[in-house]
Symmetry: C2
């Protein structure tokens, strides 16, 4: 399948939704991909089953605080520089790239390198959404190694990390992202084709495109984009449940850049009821509470969207006064398994309760 330049906007829209508020600003990744497509034409999206088992696949994306990413722009050469450096470390060519996380700008991050190096992007990713920390990828959950990894920064600095402990890797990489100005490009978890097939979240790139396309079409046709979003999600194999869990106005916002993350809470007041939702985030939205009651929690996807246009508002774009709907979607099954929840469930974020699936939470009253 080809990703034509005309499809990039839908791709960015779908990735933005799947980012659960994070994964970096999709607009910049869209612009970079668009610029690349002007030079190189279409992008090749390779289904996982066409990937040779012995291929070398490089997952990549940006690490840092999304709040920084919208002010400190990339130089555009980080991705290719990182991939080239990984090739020298591994002593072989990279055959394909893949988003480390489909969510947000990172869902489109590998496109630039794919175009410039003339290699395909694999229809899969390492998170099925976006998560704030590197070891939250399904690849770590399944026991694969993050290293060798390569960080590259806008200043031209390159760093190669080698450790067999993926938590240490995250600590090193996070600290580097701060030293490099708050944001850096990272190539990590180099995989064989066989590992992609067994352990990655497959089909997520084409799912993002389909979701984005459904919302765009609905808007063009004057139909309810939220309805279209729900229907599109239900058609994917990865995200079969979706619910609008709140409708209101942002009445308070606490957000700071701390330890290399954007952390904070958005408080949303219902428009025509006496009710408050609090959405807490660490780069990504982690938990949504309505009047103290749980409505959705990580790893399920929680995305705050403009209530008219259904444009995703990533955490770094949240502002006082925005009229929003909060939409939640079930995470891919692999992320809800017990082995995964240790890494990506509420307790992994310091929240003191167990995961509850979106579709089992009782708030069935329509909002």
């Amino acid at each position: 399948m080809l990703i034509k330049p005309s499809m990039l906007e839908d791709y960015a829209r779908g990735a933005a939704f799947l980012g659960s508020g994070g994964g970096g600003d999709p607009y910049y990744s869209f612009l970079l991909a668009q610029a690349a497509s002007e030079k190189c034409g279409d992008f090749e999206l390779m289904p996982v089953d066409e990937l040779p088992d012995e291929a070398l696949v490089a997952p990549c994306g940006w690490i840092g605080a999304p709040t920084v990413s919208v002010e400190k722009l990339p130089n555009g050469k980080e991705t290719v520089a990182g991939l080239k450096r990984l090739e020298t470390v591994m002593g072989r060519k990279i055959d394909a790239v893949m988003p480390i996380e489909i969510g947000g700008g990172n869902g489109l991050a590998p496109l630039v390198a794919a175009a410039e190096l003339g290699i395909p992007i694999i229809d899969a990713d390492g998170m099925g959404r976006a998560f704030p920390e590197s070891q939250m990828t399904i690849l770590n959950i399944k026991g694969l190694y993050a290293c060798p990894s390569v960080l590259t920064a806008a200043c031209g600095a390159t760093t190669v990390i080698e450790t067999d402990d993926n938590h240490t890797h995250e600590r090193i990489a996070r600290s580097l992202s701060v030293a490099l100005g708050g944001i850096a490009h990272m190539v990590e978890y180099p995989l064989t084709g066989a590992q992609v097939k067994t352990h990655a979240i497959t089909g997520s790139v084409s799912a993002a495109i389909a979701i984005g396309r459904a919302v765009s079409h609905a808007r063009k046709d004057g139909q309810d984009p939220f309805l279209a979003l729900g229907e599109a999600l239900e058609k994917t194999s990865q995200y079969p449940h979706c619910k609008t869990i709140f409708d209101g106005k942002i009445c308070d916002l606490q957000r700071e850049t701390s330890g290399g993350f954007s952390v904070g809470t958005a408080t949303i007041k219902a428009l025509e009821r006496n009710s408050i939702m609090r959405v807490q985030f660490q780069n990504e939205n982690l938990i949504a509470l309505e009047d103290g009651k749980l409505k959705a929690v990580v790893p399920d996807i929680i995305t705050i969207m403009d209530r008219e246009s259904a444009d995703t508002i990533t955490t770094e774009r949240l502002k006082y006064g925005q009229r929003v709907k909060v939409v939640a979607a079930a995470a891919p099954t692999m992320l809800r398994a017990q082995d995964a929840l240790k890494f990506v469930g509420p307790r992994a974020f310091g929240l003191n309760f167990d995961f509850h699936a979106l579709e089992e939470l009782s708030s069935s009253e329509p909002l």
Copy 2:
């Protein structure tokens, strides 16, 4: 010349003095070198003029807060692992090692690898003393590149840094040292033999051994070790001036581990006069003020020593109540040049005045 195991104690003693209070605890480096010598025998100390111009020389040492280094011990394999990794990055064998700074434990840091790899240690270093930051080496002042550099940590993690900006390199390396637990081994500023001859501080290893030996002999013979220290320094070509600038008891100590450094101030009360000296440090002692008047300032060496034994007390070993003498020595001429003072003079440490040479400061009254 051979460095025999019996000379290691003098070497450590001399390096400790030249550390200006920093460079890491010399005792641990001494123990590691002693353990290495038990396996490998003598160490080969190569004078700079025997070094082939095209040789590859790897300066190395530890980066981090000395306060951490005395609690978090190395695993002993960091140095060799770092050198081996640099060899793969550079695609050739390392011919010799050299201390990045002669001062403190770092003066002895390359011995382990020299013994294990069977290569000589060069009689030179990159600082002529110890400094807290990587870009304060004479090699940076002379326009050489810190990268490629390799950091290795006790946990086994390895990081390769590549940037052509030496200040960025310091920022990255410092941040990594914190992420790796507060201390890491670093191989940096890989040099050709020709560069060592032109730009390094030469003769500093043999100077450290001679200084340490003089103090040891004086103590053994029941003579004044401070007198012996001064005479030994005057015989070197690098450190021709020396002065005991204070004699007293530590009556206050402020010290914290911050941003990867040990920073603080020691306040010393004169024993038989009504006078106070304040010594301010950032890993190394930077400035000594007696009743507010300047007595010595970086890059000149300021070392606090036990007033009986003339053992150097590094900044991490300072304690309330210690009876001490503060001894200052002129820095090597290269460090006092205008091009160097920009990087290692008082203003480089945020102190708002110009450098004044120790021998020009007027406090000629004997203490």
